[in-house]
């Protein structure tokens, strides 16, 4: 597997202190043709992982050293948005709840239903994909926004807030025609085909 492949194809990262658990998960997940990387601790995972790698994280909450929750927190702090599936033992409900609040997308109780697990993984991978796409989109949006003048910014704000050209003109103290011209400029710069799209872009940008 080349470095390129490694980065492009999504990987399921398994972090569990139990060796049997790791190898069995790897065995199961690989059966559906997904790449699996196993780590015995959170620390070793962090060493090997770099942001930008696509995939999802299968994380055991109870681990010696850095536990699952701490790792989650660490990822959040470092704005690493890899989707996290929490693996819990029976009855670890409070912990699972905490994990979900921290932003885990799913939690699975041991012993696993393979379908559920695999579905969760697929779902997580999809989320990751989408997130990656959104991230690309937002980056583009940001670069477009960066091209806008301050006046155009104002106009865009007001347009997306649903104000009419006249209202904007009176608010800005300019003529309706000028507003019209800014509007066209914004639409152009933002590569928006319709007002609706612009509105969506503005929302996205605001998130």
């Amino acid at each position: 597997m080349t470095e390129n492949e490694k980065t492009s194809s999504p990987t399921v990262f398994v972090v569990d202190d139990d060796e049997a658990m790791r190898s069995s998960l790897q065995w199961l997940i690989e059966s559906v043709g997904l790449r699996v990387e196993c780590y015995a601790s959170a620390e070793s995972f962090l060493e090997a992982y770099y942001p930008g790698r696509s995939g999802c994280l299968l994380l055991d909450v109870r681990m010696p050293g850095m536990g699952g929750l701490e790792l989650q927190e660490y990822l959040r702090r470092h704005e690493i948005s890899i989707p996290v599936i929490i693996i819990t033992g029976h009855g670890d409900v409070p912990m699972s709840v905490r994990a979900m609040k921290e932003g885990a997308i799913d939690f699975i109780e041991k012993p696993f239903n393979d379908e559920l697990l695999l579905d969760a993984i697929r779902n997580a991978l999809a989320v990751d994909e989408r997130q990656r796409q959104e991230q690309t989109l937002r980056a583009e949006l940001a670069s477009c926004l960066a091209t806008l003048t301050p006046r155009e910014h104002e106009v865009m704000e007001m347009v997306t807030a649903g104000k009419s050209n006249k209202e904007i003109a009176s608010a800005l103290g300019v003529s309706a025609k000028t507003v019209e011209a800014h509007r066209a400029k914004v639409m152009d710069k933002m590569k928006a085909s319709s007002l609706a799209e612009l509105v969506r872009m503005s929302i996205m940008a605001r998130q």
């Binding site: 049997a20 069995s24 065995w27 059966s31 010696p64 536990g67 029976h90 041991k110 393979d114």
Partner: protein
């Protein structure tokens, strides 16, 4: 006038030496004896001789008659022999005598003896018969054999008729023609036993016949004679008495001593005959004189011997006495310093007598002195006695024969309340004794008189006395009779025994004290014999298999010896049929006993048993609750392998379904499955071990392994708390004889406590270390140390108390149970803590060997 003569005599006697005096005395005695005895004895001998003579004469007379009888008897026998002789029978066979041949003269044989008479038979007789006749049955003479010159007496036929008429009389003495004959008739028969008549022998009784009859007589002085009873004249006499024939007996009495006897044998003879024995008086007198002479000689010799013996005896006795006296004299001269004359010459006896008189006077004087001294002494002693009597602790009362008090000592005054003057002359029994006891007292008085043995101890009697105030009390009375100058006194000792009685009663009740005990009380002596055992000890004795006064089993015997030796009490426990008893063996060293006090601890033991049972239950419950607390951890633990199994299995099935996956891969995965399954099994097994309630066992177990197992059970919590355990385990296995599950429980408990204590600490500071090894004492130890919150000092004291807990959720049983478990292992658990710095628990357990030993014991 008398006195001087006596003194003179005495002086004379004093000069004569003793042997001479003795000889004189002996001779005098002999002479006196002769003079006195001789006439008396001579007369006496004469009398005795006469009496003797009379007896001898009678004897001789009867002997003579007996000889005569036996002599005549020989003729009778001869006649009987001839009559039944064969020749006679043969001769008579052809003969027949006609009855009417009266006139025919009998056939006469003179020189030649007839055929029917064997000459030898006749010749054998000392005196031949004068005639032998044969008569027919009618008594008529048929044949005559004449042996001498004398013709057949004329009176013969008539005599024969008379004689043969009486068939019984076959032999007698008769007078025929003035001469004495002995007639012997015997019946004759012929050869065919026909009675033919009689054979008659006629024997002349004359001097020769009588001489022959007395042939065997010892003395020749005796003359025998046949006397006519009517005329008292002698008809025939032996040898020298020829001249006497015809003379009257009365005329002969001057010259002869005559004894006349009647015949018995021939009593009914037609002639009245007497058999006379005559002895000449001259002969008798001569004999008498010779005897008297012999006797006199004897007497003379006797008197001489007596005199000699007397002299000898006298000398002997006097020398003896002399020597004795000399010794006495020597002694007295030495002891009493009395001079004594030396008896050199003269009559020692008299000298001695004089001396003895002076000696006696000296002794008398000495006695007088001694008496004076003795009297003084007696008085002193009497005073002392009185003092003793007065000081006696017992009342002593002396009474006279009539029972009246003659002495009353001060103790008696105190005891009975009467003053001496009051008591004197009163009757003792009425004064001091109770009515019921008076008779007994008098009986005792009587009894002590009966017992005459002075040495016998006086009989003690218990009576009831009464003092002046009327108070009654028991007394012991002893009476000793004292005889003083014909007056009988009784010394009466009366001892107040009310105090002693009370004590005795108390002792008796005390003695019954152990007997009343519902618990065993025993006493065993050094050789192990049960000396005393109360009723409650029966069960124990049964257990021992012995009885009272028997020896206890060897183990107990040794134990008793040991306890006595060490002098220290010891406690033992036994289970008898009555229950479980704790026996305290207390030595009584001074007496060599061991007292055993039993204590019934059946209830205690039962309670303990119950408690142990409960504790086991509690241990189990605690284990379960621990398990409950650990459920999450356990579930997680179990989930691990299960999840792995599921993953592997699903992975495999997917691959197989899709047709992907290498065979090698699949096999490896499946091996993983089985591995994980067994891992799960292990966990469950361990879990079951913890949960299942088991009877406590003891086995050899490695404490290191137990700790590892316990740690595995808390792994989940440990991880949750992010605690790393530091192991400082002994390199070699630490083997102990334990119940592994229980010890694991204890370790688990300690670990859980440590985890709880560590929660307060920041995660990175949490430290838990476990150490095993061997302590200096040789015990194995487990040391669990944490640096958690620690325990407050005042709580440390109650750490092992049940239901003591510093935790909000704890039951407070964990450490209590742990302590119980360790104690049952004969181990020890201790804790130390510094609040805020941490706690350390140390469990010590005996190693295998020690445990084995303790079990064995």
């Amino acid at each position: 006038m008398h006195r001087p003569r006596r003194a003179y005599l005495r002086n004379l006697l004093r000069r004569v030496p003793m042997p001479v005096l003795a000889a004189l005395f002996g001779l005098l005695t002999a002479a006196a004896m002769w003079i006195v005895i001789d006439p008396i004895q001579t007369r006496a001998i004469g009398n005795i001789f006469d009496k003797e003579l009379q007896g001898q004469l009678e004897t001789r007379a009867s002997e003579s008659l007996a000889r005569f009888d036996s002599f005549t008897q020989s003729y009778v026998n001869t006649t009987r022999l001839l009559a039944s002789h064969r020749r006679m029978a043969d001769y008579l066979e052809p003969v027949f005598w006609f009855a009417n041949d009266d006139d025919k003269a009998p056939r006469l044989y003179r020189d030649k003896p007839p055929v029917w008479l064997p000459a030898a038979a006749i010749d054998g007789l000392p005196v031949k018969p004068s005639h032998a006749l044969l008569t027919d049955v009618d008594g008529i003479i048929r044949e005559v054999y004449q042996l001498g010159e004398l013709a057949l007496p004329r009176e013969t036929p008539s005599e024969l008729r008379h004689a043969l008429a009486d068939t019984r009389q076959t032999a007698y003495i008769t007078r025929l023609d003035g001469r004495l004959y002995m007639l012997i008739a015997e019946k004759v028969e012929d050869a065919s036993y026909n009675l033919m008549g009689s054979l008659v022998l006629l024997v002349r009784i004359d001097r020769d016949f009588l001489n022959a009859s007395q042939q065997r007589a010892s003395t020749s002085e005796t003359t025998v004679a046949l006397v006519d009873g009517e005329s008292q004249t002698i008809l025939a006499a032996s040898h020298n008495g020829e001249s006497l024939v015809g003379s009257r007996i009365s005329d002969l009495e001057t010259d002869y001593v005559i004894t006349a006897q009647s015949f018995f044998e021939y009593g009914n003879s037609p002639v009245n005959l007497l058999f006379a024995t005559l002895i000449s008086r001259d002969v008798i007198e001569a004999t008498r004189q010779s005897i008297i002479a012999v006797e006199r000689r004897h007497r003379l010799t006797g008197a001489a011997i007596v005199g000699f013996i007397f002299v000898l005896l006298f000398i002997l006795v006097s020398s003896r006495i002399n020597r004795l006296l000399r010794r006495v004299a020597n002694f007295s001269s030495r002891a009493l310093h009395i001079e004594h004359p030396s008896p050199r010459g003269g009559n020692q006896l008299l000298i001695m007598e004089d001396w003895i008189r002076s000696f006696t006077q000296a002794v008398m004087r000495a006695r007088e002195e001694m008496r004076a001294r003795y009297t003084a002494e007696i008085q002193e002693r009497e005073a002392l006695k009185t003092a003793v009597l007065d000081a006696s602790l017992d009342p002593i009362v002396t009474i006279d024969q009539g029972g009246h008090i003659v002495d009353f000592n001060p103790t008696a005054e105190n005891t009975f309340g009467y003053r001496r003057e009051e008591a004197l002359n009163r009757s003792l029994d009425e004064l001091v004794f109770d009515k019921g006891s008076r008779q007994a007292f008098n009986a005792q008085l009587y009894d002590c008189l009966q017992e005459q043995q002075a040495d016998a101890p006086p009989v003690l009697r218990t009576l009831t006395a009464r003092n002046k105030d009327g108070r009654q009390f028991p007394v012991e009375v002893a009476i000793k009779p004292v005889m003083l100058e014909d007056h009988l006194f009784f010394t009466t000792y009366i001892r107040d025994i009310s105090e002693r009685k009370r004590q005795a009663q108390e002792i008796t009740s005390l003695a019954a004290f152990p007997g009343e005990s519902p618990l065993p009380v025993l006493r065993i002596n050094q050789p192990g014999v049960v000396i005393y055992a109360n009723r409650a000890s029966d069960g124990l004795l049964d257990y021992w298999g012995c009885k009272r006064m028997q020896t206890v089993p060897i183990f107990w015997k040794r134990l008793v010896e040991k306890v006595l030796e060490q002098g220290r009490a010891r406690e033992m426990e036994v289970e008898t049929r009555d229950g479980v008893f704790s026996l305290l063996l207390a030595p009584v060293a001074s007496l060599g006993y061991v007292n055993i006090y039993g204590r019934d601890i059946t209830a205690v033991r039962r309670a303990e048993e119950e408690a142990r049972h409960r504790q086991n239950e509690l241990i189990h419950v605690s284990r379960l609750s621990t398990m409950g607390e650990m459920a999450t951890g356990i579930a997680h633990e179990l989930n691990q392998p299960l999840s792995a199994i599921v993953n592997f299995a699903k992975g495999c099935s997917r691959r197989i379904r899709l047709g992907i996956g290498e065979k090698e891969e699949l096999v490896t995965a499946m091996e993983q499955i089985s591995q994980q399954a067994s891992r799960a099994g292990e966990i469950i097994k361990r879990l079951r071990g913890m949960v299942t309630r088991q009877q406590p066992v003891r086995e050899k177990a490695d404490l290191n392994a137990l700790i590892k197992d316990a740690c595995a059970l808390i792994a989940h919590d440990r991880q949750k708390l992010q605690i790393a355990i530091e192991f400082h385990l002994n390199k070699e296995p630490v083997l102990a004889w334990v119940d592994p599950v229980q010890i694991e429980q204890v370790v688990l408990n300690l670990l859980r406590n440590a985890l709880d204590a560590l929660q307060a600490k920041p995660a990175e500071e949490r430290l838990l270390s476990i150490e095993t090894g061997f302590a200096a004492s040789g015990n194995a130890y487990i040391r669990v140390q944490d640096n958690g919150s620690g325990i407050a000092r005042e709580d440390l004291k109650h750490l092992f108390d049940p239901f003591f807990s510093t935790k909000k959720t704890g039951m407070g049983m964990g450490l209590s149970i742990s302590q119980t478990i360790i104690a049952e292992h004969k181990g020890h658990i201790s804790a130390d803590s510094l609040p805020g710095r941490g706690t350390v628990f140390i469990v010590e357990l005996p190693v295998t060997g020690a445990v084995l030993e303790s079990i064995a014991s």
